[in-house]
């Protein structure tokens, strides 16, 4: 709310307008698709399974049970960390996070506290226009870094176990299914480096893409194998609009943080962040500070709501898990695990642009999934000259990648090429017939209607069952029409 004032020269002066920069950090939980659970041999598959049929003393928290960590889950956690350029700690351990909740059978979750497997990583994402703009306002620093990409700091990537699932029925009761209890989860935490809702979505999609490339999780938000929590606050950043030559910007780091949980799709993440930005802006403009709290998101209303009543004293009393010996010499795993990393999407995209002369857009699209990228490369094989065509075919879904083997594609194209009629004499004969039978079109062309050419080409293509070389046909047609 700005009040216009008049200075002594009668010119309108606007009050300093406050701009707010979103400061966002995201926590993503990825459910690994190992065969067995994190600390026991129960099947980790819990989707569409009868309740409490994949449990055992360990994941049910029965008296006397003990956890034994799943090697593959840990390897995959480190793999994710490597893909996110993290440092791998040489020594690590599990810790107990103690709290009470009905879906937590042991009364503590085995997680990691001060020595996670991976930390201090980074992920590069492409910036949106909006962000580029907002950052020009927010900072006057000129560090010479690229403006079209942004680096998101990854604070840590660690391992923990999932809880059971609470189902609420219509009565006064809650029902619990422990099939999901103990399923391995990898938690990825970012620094508060995200500054817009677009960046947040881009980040989430990138994480999803990378995790799927690694084939360690289905990473599906709707199915719950990818979950996220957003920490968001707004930093005040002013710009004195009435003195354009002396733009001054200041950034006050916010003294509060709001955590938004329970968001089940990218669409809702967008809505939730947008709502929060609006809500927090209003509070700040009124001169108050938003309460530091946890909020839930309602899909129905598109709004976040306070969960303050649920907030118990968050004293988790972390201590090292005595039932699981510590891990050492983890760096020795790095070489082996790095060799298991596939070429990640960004590198692959760059390589496709270089090696196959694809456009940036096509390279981006063809590397959306590893399966598609691999299919593309298999289809191209040695026929690099056909790369662009093949890419187009796949992207525009002109070929059913589920039915057609990649080796067949190049053959198909070459077949088509060899079927193209470029014999000019033959084509002239057909064109003459078409022109004769379509005097209206000719007249239209002479009147200046260029579309008539398209129509006539279409006729020729129909006559030749699509096999005529379109460029040659066009050339001949225009020559004849102009004659």
């Amino acid at each position: 709310m700005t009040k216009d004032r008049q200075n002594d020269k009668g010119r309108k002066m606007t009050k300093d307008k406050m701009e707010y920069l979103p400061i966002i950090g995201i926590e993503v939980h990825v459910e690994l698709k190992t065969k067995s659970k994190m600390f026991c041999g129960c099947s980790a598959n819990h989707f569409g399974v009868a309740p409490n049929t994949h449990t055992c003393p360990v994941c049910l928290g029965l008296a006397g049970a003990l956890p034994v960590p799943n090697k593959k889950a840990i390897d995959w956690c480190i793999l994710i960390g490597l893909a996110l350029n993290c440092e791998i700690n040489n020594e690590s351990k599990f810790d107990r996070k103690n709290y009470f909740y009905p879906d937590l059978p042991k009364g503590y979750q085995i997680s990691q506290y001060d020595q996670p497997f991976c930390q201090k990583g980074r992920l590069v994402i492409a910036r949106s226009e909006a962000t580029k703009q907002s950052l020009k306002i927010a900072t006057t620093r000129n560090d010479g870094s690229r403006n079209d990409i942004k680096t998101i700091g990854i604070t840590r990537v660690h391992m923990e176990e999932d809880t059971g699932k609470l189902v609420h029925d219509k009565t006064e009761a809650s029902l619990i299914d422990f099939n999901r209890s103990g399923v391995p989860l990898v938690e990825i935490v970012t620094e508060p480096d995200i500054n817009s809702v677009e960046e947040a979505i881009t980040y989430l999609k990138k994480i999803q893409q990378i995790v799927r490339y690694l084939d360690v999780s289905d990473c599906d938000m709707e199915k719950g194998s990818m979950r996220c929590e957003v920490n968001i606050s707004l930093a005040a950043c002013g710009k004195r609009l009435n003195r354009p030559n002396r733009e001054k910007c200041f950034l006050n780091l916010p003294k509060y943080k709001v955590e938004v949980k329970n968001i089940n799709s990218f669409k809702f993440v967008k809505k939730a962040i947008e709502y929060e930005i609006r809500r927090q802006t209003e509070i700040l403009e009124a001169g108050k500070i938003p309460v530091q709290e946890t909020r839930g998101f309602s899909e129905k209303t598109g709004r976040t709501f306070s969960q303050r009543t649920k907030e118990a004293a968050h004293d988790y009393r972390y201590f090292p898990e005595p039932d699981i010996p510590p891990f050492t010499n983890l760096k020795s795993k790095i070489l082996d695990l790095k060799s298991q990393l596939p070429e990640l999407p960004d590198r692959k995209m760059e390589r496709f642009i270089k090696e196959y002369s694809l456009s940036e857009d096509n390279a981006l699209r063809i590397t959306t999934t590893l399966a598609m990228a691999n299919y593309f490369e298999a289809a191209v094989n040695k026929n690099k000259s056909l790369a662009k065509q093949i890419a187009n075919l796949i992207i525009n879904q002109k070929v059913d990648v589920n039915k057609v083997k990649p080796e067949e594609i190049a053959k198909m194209i070459n077949q088509q090429k060899s079927n193209i009629i470029s014999d000019q004499n033959y084509l002239i004969k057909i064109i003459d017939v078409i022109l004769k039978n379509n005097s209206n079109a000719t007249a239209d062309y002479k009147k200046g209607k260029q579309e008539a050419v398209g129509f006539l080409i279409g006729q020729v293509m129909r006559e030749t069952k699509g096999k005529a070389d379109a460029q040659i046909v066009r050339k001949i047609l225009i020559e004849k029409l102009n004659y």
Partner: protein
């Protein structure tokens, strides 16, 4: 440094009880106020030990890097899983509603 005046207040005792998910009656709270403070008083002697350059022992066996393979083993049946309680419904454990 352990506080030399390690007397727990009633509020502290109640807070601990809440963290520990225990409901104590007023008699227990006063009794524990004294008893827990007494125990903490005894524990103060830990201060006399110089542990400045010492690492904590988390595992006396010296074991490291213990894992299990990612293999599926037999689970309990649904009946076995639910056998410990009468509060169940259609294969689920039942509790009073959380919300």
């Amino acid at each position: 440094m352990i506080n030399k005046n390690n007397k727990l207040t009633k509020e502290q005792v109640m807070h601990i009880a809440k963290l520990a998910n225990l409901s104590l009656n007023s008699e227990e709270i006063s009794k524990f106020e004294k008893q827990l403070s007494d125990i903490l008083g005894y524990i103060e002697i830990l201060d006399e030990l110089d542990t400045t350059k010492v690492k904590p022992t988390l595992q006396v066996t010296g074991l490291e890097n213990i894992f299990k393979d990612d293999e599926v083993e037999k689970s309990l049946t649904q009946d076995e899983s639910l056998s410990g309680t009468k509060n169940k419904h259609n294969g689920y454990f039942k509790v009073k509603s959380i919300f």
